[in-house]
Amino acid sequence: MITVNLEPDGEVIELHGTKTVIAVLNRLKLRPSMAIVARNDELLTSDRRLTPGETILVRKVTSAG
């Protein structure tokens, strides 16, 4: 299971069976250039692998305005 902190929505989402960043983005219906993804202080490109139990930040980049 991967825990996703989704910003700016402020939602916490739990995803099962997602092993890569791109899989998480697909599940959230986001293209790689529509959000930045980070694990702790590290930015992740969409080809990076994730380990079950990890928590990542997905921050949509479109500013309202």
Binding site: E7, P8, R31, P32, S33, M34, I36, A38, E42, L43, L44, T45, S46, D47, R59, V61, T62, S63, A64, G65
Partner: protein, 309 residues
Amino acid sequence: MKCTRCKKLACVSLPSHHSGFCKDCYPLFFTRQVETAIRREKMFTHGERILVALSGGKDSLALMLELKLQGYDITGLHIDLGIPNSSNKARAKVENFCDMHDLTLQVLEMEKEGLPIPEVKAFINRPVCAVCGKVKRHHFNRIAREGGFDVLATGHNLDDEVARLFANTLRWDTAYLSDQGPMLPAAEGFVRKVKPLFRLTEFETANYAFLKGIEIHSAPCPYSGGASFTNHKKLWGELEHRSPGQKFQFYHGFLKRGKPAFPVQEETSGVTLTPCDECGSPTSVGTCSVCRIKATVRENKAKAEATQG
């Protein structure tokens, strides 16, 4: 993915540039894009004084920090709109940021100007965002002029510019299409306006902001009814995904080949601008639109108070 520059593990992938960068090389890419924008569009020089409009969003803060790192003479200007539960937070963010990075900041309070935005919403019978935008542009220009600044810089990025251009193209708004761009020269009563981030996408600015520790988490303005360009931005996100580089080509092609095809209309319409009787800002009708809005708020507020009792 490996960094295009140093071959370490990349943290940002940029298909439109056929590259990826690690956390040390990415800021260099960002800096180079801003340098190119400033140089090619002849935005400003190291000898000029630059006023930077700071809303508190990631783009304006990233711009401010980057211009400081490039050694420019910059002053930030934040407008406190006076919206309860919102403006105070934006202002605190800007103030903390400027403190932390040792940046010069001016704050203009709409409350003290006699035109807090909640009163615009309550007493002016027009969409609040249209008036708010007008008021902000008015004061940015006025303060730049009065403070003797050479140029006003804003944090608009490529996505902002593309979304706006797209909307105006759908409407064939020829007035817009004839005089928009990343650098608008000074004109009678108006300072030069520049957008040094216009070559960078929202994604690229967001990565820079993250790596530079700029905290961007913030609640949207309570009056924003879902920003108007958001749908166009989504469409363009999809287009860009299918053909990376499309956004930049569309905007760049407009500047090179589209814009020159629309003759500037203002010059032929024959309006002459004179300083506003009250505030000195350029206007064609004696008292400028912002001073008139202020007067209307005052009148309608007095009327409302009279009927209340």
